[in-house]
Each structure stands twice: as C-alpha cells, then as structure tokens.
Amino acid sequence: MEGEMATTSSLTSRDSIDLGELRKKPRIGETIIQSLLFLCGVISILTTIGIVYELGKESLAFFTHQMWEQTNKSLTVGIDESVTTFEVSRSGGVLEVGDTLRLSDEIVMVSSIEGTLLTVERGVQETAAVPHSAGVEIFRGSYVSLVEFFTGTEWNPQISKFGIWSLVNATFMTSLIAMSVALPVGLATAIYLSEYASLRARSILKPIMEVLAGVPTVVYGYFALTFMTPLFRSWFGVDTVQIFNTASAGVVVGILIIPLVSSMSEDALHAVPKSLREAAYGLGATRLETSLRVVLPAALSGITAAFVVAISRAIGETMIVAIAAGAGPAFTFNPFDSAETMTGHIVRISGGDLSYDSIDYNSIFAIGLLLFFLTLSLNIFSQRVVARFREVYE
C-alpha cells in the first residue's frame, strides 16, 4: 500500500535539532501572565488559611489566657524577695499544689501546702521576686477549660464565665424558627414555580424573589425590630413579648432565606428529566401526584442540599439577630425572650472599644472558630449531596 511505502523512505533529518524558525520562542510575557493568574487563584487558598490560622491562633490564646480570680486571701506578714515559705490568711477559697498565685505584680507557683503555710517558687512566668507587705491580696490564676466552654450555659466575661451554650442555644433558636418559616414556604414556592406557574406568573415572582434576596440584612434587622416585634407584641401581649426576642429575629431570617431555598429547590426540580414526568402522566397520575410522588423524590437530594445550605446561612446570619434578638447572652427556650446569638455577640463585642489580647477579643475568635466549622461542615455536606445527585442525572 502507498501509505506503508511512505514509512520506508529514509528521512535523515528527522533527528536534527536544527528547528530553524519553528523553534519554540521564549514567551516571557505569557509565562508571567500565567503565574499572575495562578496567584489570583491562590489568594482564595490564602484566605482560607488566613481564616483558620487567625481564628485558631486567637482561640488558642483564649484557652491559654491566664485570668486572675479573687481568693479572698492575703499575706499575714510581709515577706522579702528571698522568702519561699509564708503564711496566708485562713479565710477565703481553697488553694492547691501547682496553683499559680499573683501577689501584686509577682507570680509564684505553689509547691506545697501545710495548713495556712505555703511553700512557693518565687518569680515565675518571667516576673521578678520582690518584697511584699502584709495584707497583700492573693489572686489565683485560672484558664477557660474546653469542658467549661462546651458544656457551660452561662456566658459572662465579667465574672469569667465562658459557657458557649447560651450563645449556641440562641443561634439554634433563631435558626430553627427561621427554617420553620423558610422550608415550607420556600419549597412550596419552588414547586409552584417549577410545576404549576405560567410564564407570566414566573416573570412576576422570580424578580420579587430576587429583590427579597438582594435587600441588605441590616434593613431586615430594622424590619424585625420596628415591624415584626410590634406585631408580635400586639398579638401576644406586651408583657409576653420582650422588645428584643428570638421569635421576630428568627421569622425575619426565615423571610430572608426563602429565596435561597426556593431557587435552589427549583433548580433541583428542574433537573429532573422530563421523561420521568411523562412516565408518571402516562400512568394516569394527576399533576399533583406527579409533582409530589415522582418529581419531588427524584429531586430530594438537591432539595436536601438546599435545606442544609439554608441552615448554614441562618446560623451565620448576623445583622438581623444583632438588631432584633437581644443584646445579652441568656440561656432560654422561650422565643419571646431576649437572647444573644453567637454572631450577635461577636458584633456587639467588636463594636465596642476592644483592646487586642484582652480575653474579650480572644473569646470572639473562639466563637468565630466554632461558627466557621459549623457552617463549613454544613456546606461541605450539602456539596456532597449535590455531587451524588449530579451523578444520577447527568
């Protein structure tokens, strides 16, 4: 064959490295541009690293922050800088071996205790041993423990109470109320838009949903405080409903996320192939039966993903709860009571005069870290669900 003959011809130049004008030209510009574009992509990774690093660093500082609590004990006699054993007053709290104590500016560590007689190591933690006069108050060093943080229900930095549950509980309350508004309304809207609505109805409803989604949250906060709360107060009584309450904040957060639920659910419903609907109609199903028993189950994973994203959004929502839910942590299950959420607390604390490296500053980062992981795991979970869903229909 001709084709085979061609291969037999000798081509002495085939290994020549003289490529002449075909030789690759160095395109430095192209390389620089590609590197710059790559850097643009890397910024997003740096952002994540920055978030995890900064939140982690400050949270660590929070849990290793030494606080000084009063023991109501004092020195009974004055001591000079070399004395390592001294007597303290009998009254007040209990001291233990290994405690760090602070006498004015000096920090000491207790190495043994005999009644009211303490033996200590002087001048620890880079403080200098100095003389102290009788009557100097003794403070005991303490840290926020993880156990206290994750089990405590009282959050009051002034008296060193850092139990996250009062904040988490309020967050869950508002999110729960929000979801109980947004889920049914959002899903029903999605079903209506995808299965029933005429083109005309869609052309009116879709922009309204977009406008609802585009209203800044601070405006919703204003709405919750000046409309929803007075409305609840006129329905349930001024004495029952506090001015700040999780109910009105929650309902308005729900309104805010209706468009999110409805648009994501509608996408999921749209992705169900037409053939499936036709199959159902072909068996004599009504439109409702087709929608609810065939299309909805087929779109279930997409709808689940929408719900999970909506929950994550409700948990992270800030301005509505900061304005309308309450301005002080409280552990309550009454939706008409005031309670501060995680996000609300962060905003209030950082809105005030905040000095770096104070326990308040560190504490909001610890809350932020928890919030970050909470929303991140919800988002990852929803992406997993969506990924599985895509495999089925594409």
Binding site: Q34, L36, I43, T48, P184, L205, T217, V218, L288, I323
Partner: protein
C-alpha cells in the same frame, strides 16, 4: 369494591363506574387544594416585601411635634425685624447670632469659617490675622466666607434649637391627623406640629450629627463609595484573574481542584468571619500599611488600621468567591469554536484569551461583578467587626481615612432607643435601597448593551 358484587362483570382490582368517578374527583380535589396552598406560599414573599417597604415608608415620613428653645417669631422680633425667619437677609441673621450666642462661641464659628470676606462679626482683625499667621492656622483662614444658607442653619441649630419631641408614622399622620394634632396639643402645648419628610436634600448633604434633626448621610455615602471603590479595585482583577486561570489554564491537578473546592466553600462562609479575618490581618497585622503610616502624612491620632482600605480589602475578600464563580460561568459560556479559530491562526493562549474569550465573556463578568458589588454595599457585620467609626463628621479624604458607611449608619441609628433615630434610619434605608436599585438597573443595562453589540 366488594369482591362478589353482582353488578361487577369483570374484576380488575381497580375502582370502576361511580367509584372511579368519586375516586378521581377526590384526587383532583386534593390536587386543587394543594395547588392553592402552593400559590399561597408564593404570596408570603410578596407580602413580606410589601410589609418591608410599607414599614420603611411609614417611618420615613410623617407628622412631627417640634419644640423650640426660642420660637422663630421671637427670634425675628429680637432684632426688631418683621416677617418670617427664613426670609431674613444674611446680615440680619448674623445680627441674630450676635444677639443670642456668646462671643466665645461666635469666635469659634468664625475661626471655622468666616462670616464676612472683609470684616469680622465676633473676632477682631488683629487677633484673627495673628491666628492665621501662627503654626496652626484656623480653618477659616483658607476658606471663603459662609453663605446665607450656612448662617441660617447656624441660627436654627444655635438659637432656635428645635427639638423633635414626638413623631408619628405616615399612616397615623394621614388617616388620623385630628387625633394626632389633639394629642400633640395636650402633651406638648406650644409645640409646632408639621408634616415632615425625613428624607430631604439636606439629609443627603449633611454630615453626621448627634441631633437627629440635623443628622445626614453625607459622610456615610462618601464612606460607602470609597469602601466599594477599594473593594472593586482589589476583587475585580483578582477574581477575574482567578476565573481565567481556573477555566483556561488549570488542569486537573490536585492544587487546581483544591482551589476550586476551596472557592466553593468560601462562598458559604458567614460574612462576619471575613470581618474577623479583616480585623486580625488588615487592621492588626498590617496596621503600618493600612493606617497609611508607611506612606507618611497621616494624622497620628487616627493612625490605626481601622481605615477605608482595611474595610475595602475585607469586603474584597468577601465577594471574591462570588466574582470568581460568576466569571467562571461567563468564561465557560464562550464557545470553544472561537478559541479554536484563534489558535488556528497562530495566536498564543493569552492573545486568544485577551482578544476573544474576555470580550465575549464581558457582559456576564460585569453582571456578576455588579451583583457582588451590591452585596458588598449592603454588608454591615464585617465592617462593624473591622471597626467602622460610628461618628464621623468630615468627609473621608482617602483610603487611610476613618470611615462610616450607609449600612453602619442605619445599624447605629436603629440601635438608638429614640423614635427620631428610627425615622432617620428609615430615610437612610431608602437612600440605600435606591442606590442598590440603580446599581442593579445599571447591571441590566450593561448586559443588554453588550449583548446587542456582540450580536
């Protein structure tokens, strides 16, 4: 269906005859009922939006009762003039000031800005010129003299000192005006009751003030514009760059997949977390940079990192994933035949992207960017955390200035217990919504313009 029904000729296991009819009617009835409830659900959105707009309008306009320290008529009479206060000449108004405020206060106002070009109302020429010659000359030395309006405002705020004692909503003002007037007469005898729009041209032009009567959103609008300018300056090139990289260059390597997953996850991070990142990185760690101290010429009292540039960069990071994802979609929509045609002519990759891919993707990229921009303009929480100042009376003059923004102002005013602050918050919300609406309209127009040109 009874199994041994004598009327039943053929047992199919399905309802037949009248039973079938009933069964189908029942099924359709359920269908209609549920359809109705789906329809009702869509109404919730419409009702919520209506209630929101109603509520804001209701608060932004309405009757107010105002008590004056000295009623305007008495003020006019105090200099022996007649007529209405607002009709007096500049000279007469200055005369009123001279008669009613202390010389010390008058001198302060004059140092801020002079009353006359060629003479002095409170100060003496010698002292004033001495001040101007000193190391720290007064602001008035380099400013033109006050105009009549300016003096009029001074008379209002310093002499008349009107104070809003109660406000009523638009609905009450329109439909139960009589009762409102009666109530005002009973509670605040001698007060002036009039209809007031809290949203006025003055409201847009005045800076912040602790008196809601004189407060405005001028500094907040400038703050918002500055912040958004920095935000876009940072996030538009970086976002579009990242999108180009991911769509045109990136292969399926681990790092590229990581970048893509990471961007999707960042889009779901609550905005307040970005605020904390901004606080830790831009405000604290990069303080020398973001306070402007590295570039010199910064007032040391304001030289901390809580500046426009910190806020802009924080919001930039916040909207970066949104811009990237939208730009990626726009780039993906460019037909590959266009790229092939370009490569077939011997174009390099970048030439292909720059001359063909980007121009075709521009409408999509711009629309996405403007949507991201309106998100950034409405953001409040991250800016509170980054440290927006709440009380700013001078216009921000650059990226290293302290700042406040419209949403921050709304948040601050909403948090105050007094009704009048609620009213100006509502007026500020109207300004914000109009700003957002015009931005979105621009997005639609841009998209239409470009898609027509491409066709």
């Amino acid at each position: 269906m009874m199994p041994n029904d004598p009327n039943q000729e053929l047992e199919t296991g399905f309802p037949e005859g009248t039973d079938l009819e009933k069964y189908i009617i029942k099924r359709h009835r359920t269908g209609v009922g549920l359809k109705l409830s789906f329809q009702m659900a869509t109404l919730v959105g419409i009702i919520a939006l209506t209630a929101l707009l109603y509520n804001i309008t209701n608060q932004a306009f309405g009757l107010v009762a105002v008590e004056n320290t000295i009623p305007p008529a008495e003020v006019v009479a105090s200099i022996g003039a007649t007529g209405e206060l607002q009709d007096l000449s500049k000279d007469q108004l200055i005369e009123i000031l001279q008669a009613n405020i202390s010389t010390g206060l008058g001198r302060r106002f004059e140092r801020d800005q002079r009353f006359y070009e060629d003479s002095y109302a409170f100060d003496t020429e010698a002292k004033y010129q001495a001040s101007c010659a000193s190391a720290e000359p007064a602001a008035g030395c380099s400013l033109p003299a006050r105009d009549r309006d300016n003096v009029y405002q001074l008379v209002l705020s310093e002499v008349v000192e009107p104070e809003v004692v109660q406000t009523w909503s638009l609905m009450d003002s329109l439909f139960s005006r009589g009762e409102v007037l009666a109530e005002a007469e009973a509670k605040y005898p001698g007060s002036e009751v009039y209809f007031r729009s809290w949203l006025t041209a003055d409201f847009l032009q005045r800076p912040q003030s602790s008196n809601p009567e004189f407060a405005g959103v001028r500094t907040a609008i400038f703050g918002s514009l500055w912040v958004i300018f920095i935000t876009i300056l940072f996030s538009f090139p970086v976002g579009v760059g990242a999108a180009i990289y991911l769509e045109e260059y990136a292969g399926a390597s681990f790092i590229n997949r990581l970048i893509q997953t990471n961007i999707n996850n960042l889009a779901g991070v609550p905005s307040i977390i970005y605020g904390m990142l901004g606080l830790a990185i831009f405000v604290r760690t990069l303080e020398p940079l973001t306070s402007g101290a590295l570039f010199g010429g910064v007032d040391p009292t304001t030289a901390n990192g809580r500046t426009i540039i910190s806020a802009g960069l924080t919001l930039g990071l916040l909207i970066l994933p949104i811009i990237i994802i939208n730009a990626q979609e726009a780039i993906r929509a460019v037909p590959s035949s266009l790229r092939q045609a370009s490569f077939g002519l011997g174009a390099t990759k970048w030439q292909t992207i720059w001359h063909h891919v980007l121009p075709s993707a521009t409408p999509g990229i711009l629309t996405g960017t403007i949507l991201a921009m309106s998100r950034a303009i409405g953001e409040t929480a991250p800016l509170v955390v980054v440290g927006a100042s709440t009380f700013i009376v001078v216009d921000p003059d650059g990226p290293f200035a302290k700042f406040t923004t419209l949403p921050i102002q709304i948040y601050q005013w909403t948090s105050r217990p007094q009704d009048e602050f609620r009213n100006i918050a509502a007026a500020a919300i109207l300004v914000l919504l109009v700003l957002l609406l015009s931005l979105n309209a621009t997005a639609v127009l841009l998209r239409n313009h470009y898609s027509r040109r491409a066709a």
